[in-house]
């Protein structure tokens, strides 16, 4: 298993420092960071990012012309969603993204509404909590500023398919329980600490159970809503669209993510929508 993991990691193991977490030993507060004990994720030069091994994303819904499976190359993903403190650093140096200065084209009127002021997150937005009420444009601008990018839908969903203890979380009862409990709870007035979320198999925190997250290609989702909508005018709105059956009707949360993405405009902000950044995996 260990050998297989290492083989699967391929080039990613090149980034290993000595004594990393592949041996299964508990490492407290590692610096640089590791994934879970026994996790295939490895230590990376990038602080706070975790390698997600290459894999296959199976889209929830697709048109007849779309691939049933999408191969995803290995990539790096932020360990936790971008926090208020991190976003504050960004708007401090890029004034055009401050609440009072942002263009309505790039963020709607509730942008950073939960912050106390332009440069003051305040009590409703604790420093370590995920930043919410940010638009796609703002999330993208942050990522560019940080030298990163937003993950694609395929990347995000591949990472989020992991369970707590296994790379494939489909049958992870604990994860499902936590996920559906989160979906059933109202959005809290103040978000929880991002770094305190339980890590998954790869060591990534908060993909489920913290906030919804923007993806770079959110505007590919073409679900028009109800099936009656796919006739008449709606069919002419999209060239070649028209979704066919879903791969896993039981994956209720994935339906919700797809519905959310397709309902969003790029300048929208909501009280439970944040983001995290990704990067291409370093190649030797």
């Amino acid at each position: 298993m260990k050998a297989a993991s290492l083989r699967r990691l391929g080039i990613l193991t090149l980034g290993l420092s000595a004594g990393m977490g592949l041996g299964g030993a508990e490492i407290q507060n590692p610096k640089p960071k590791t994934g879970n004990p026994g996790s295939p994720s490895v230590v990376l030069a990038q602080e706070g990012m975790i390698a997600i091994p290459a894999g296959v994303y199976v889209p929830l819904q697709r048109t007849t012309k779309e691939a049933a499976q999408v191969a995803v190359a290995s990539f790096l993903l932020d360990e936790h969603p971008v926090t208020n403190a991190e976003f504050l650093a960004f708007v401090t140096v890029q004034p055009k993204w401050r609440r009072s200065q942002v263009s309505g084209l790039f963020a709607d009127s509730s942008y950073l509404e939960n912050w106390a002021g332009d440069l003051e997150p305040g009590p409703s937005a604790p420093p370590g909590a995920p930043v919410v009420r940010v638009s796609w444009f703002a999330a993208r601008a942050y990522a560019r500023w940080a030298g990163k990018r937003l993950p694609t839908t395929a990347e995000w969903e591949l990472a989020a398919a992991a369970g707590y203890a296994r790379p494939d979380g489909r049958n992870d009862a604990e994860l499902k329980r936590d996920l559906y409990a989160w979906l059933a709870r109202p959005v809290p007035a103040v978000q929880a600490e991002a770094a305190a979320a339980r890590p998954d198999f790869h060591g990534v925190r908060g993909l489920h159970g913290l906030v919804w997250e923007w993806v770079d290609d959110f505007n590919t989702a073409m679900v028009t809503g109800e099936s009656r909508g796919d006739s008449g005018l709606e069919r002419d709105l999209f060239c070649g669209a028209g979704s066919v059956g879903a791969k896993d009707p039981g994956d209720y949360a994935a339906f919700m993510r797809t519905a959310l993405r397709s309902s969003l405009k790029a300048n929208n902000t909501t009280s439970a929508l944040g983001f995290r950044c990704a990067q291409d995996a370093p190649h030797p």
């Binding site: 770079d216 505007n219 590919t220 005018l233 002419d236 709105l237 060239c239 070649g240 790029a266």
Partner: protein, 223 residues
């Protein structure tokens, strides 16, 4: 509305004021806010100059021209959308190898053009931006221009994936590449006023061309 093509500009603008009083209010407001220098159409800018300096601070709050994305036209020249400021614009996203909706969209843009009064038609820009960042190179777009007999009023743009996705997000266009290389995409024709603000969008593939032409004329009249 077809009749507007034969009207003089004052007649057109009066007709439009009468027909679209509500929209006009907003346009007058944006006209008052406009920078005086922005009124002059500048289609004759030196085509060899790369990215003429544009004062981004002068763009209005809802101007798409605030976006800093850079595109390349079919002559290989770097283009920022802000260069279109001062002209009414008909804008659509497409891909050259599209066999279904895109030819219709281009034909519809040509129809909108025919419906315009001559004076506005001459000032307008007709812009096509490709989703197909891999195949619709400037050379491929030049071929497309020749095949479709698109004259100098048409601006054909290639962009990096980042720029194309940002523009799509600004327009509300959704798109996705299929396994056969073709793209599923929203069918949208957008009208921009001389400040680069969206004043009208025609969705779908049927009808709406008179309204689009009227919106373009109204946008041009606002200045």
């Amino acid at each position: 509305m077809n009749a507007i093509a034969s009207m003089s500009r004052p007649e057109i603008c009066n007709t439009i004021r009468y027909t679209f009083p509500v929209r006009l209010g907003a346009l007058i407001l944006s006209g008052l806010l406009a920078v005086p220098g922005a009124l002059a159409a500048e289609p004759a800018a030196n085509p060899d100059a790369c990215c003429p300096a544009i004062d981004a601070a002068a763009f209005t709050k809802n101007s798409l021209y605030q976006a800093d994305a850079t595109f390349t036209d079919d002559t290989g020249r770097a283009v920022k959308l802000g260069e279109l400021r001062g002209r009414p614009v008909v804008l659509a996203m497409f891909f050259a190898s599209c066999g279904y909706a895109c030819p219709l969209i281009v034909s519809d843009m040509q129809t909108i053009r025919e419906k315009l009064p001559a004076e506005i038609r001459e000032r307008a820009a007709f812009v096509l931006v490709s989703f197909d960042v891999a195949r619709d190179t400037p050379a491929a777009l030049a071929t497309y221009r020749a095949q479709r007999s698109l004259d100098g009023q048409w601006v054909l743009l290639h962009g990096a994936d980042d720029s194309v996705r940002e523009l799509a997000a600004l327009l509300g266009v959704k798109y996705k590449q299929e396994t056969d290389g073709a793209f599923s995409h929203s069918n949208l024709i957008t009208i921009l006023n001389p400040q680069g603000e969206i004043t009208h969008q025609r969705t779908g593939l049927k009808g709406g061309l008179d309204e689009a032409a009227a919106a373009l004329a109204a946008a041009a009249c606002a200045n």
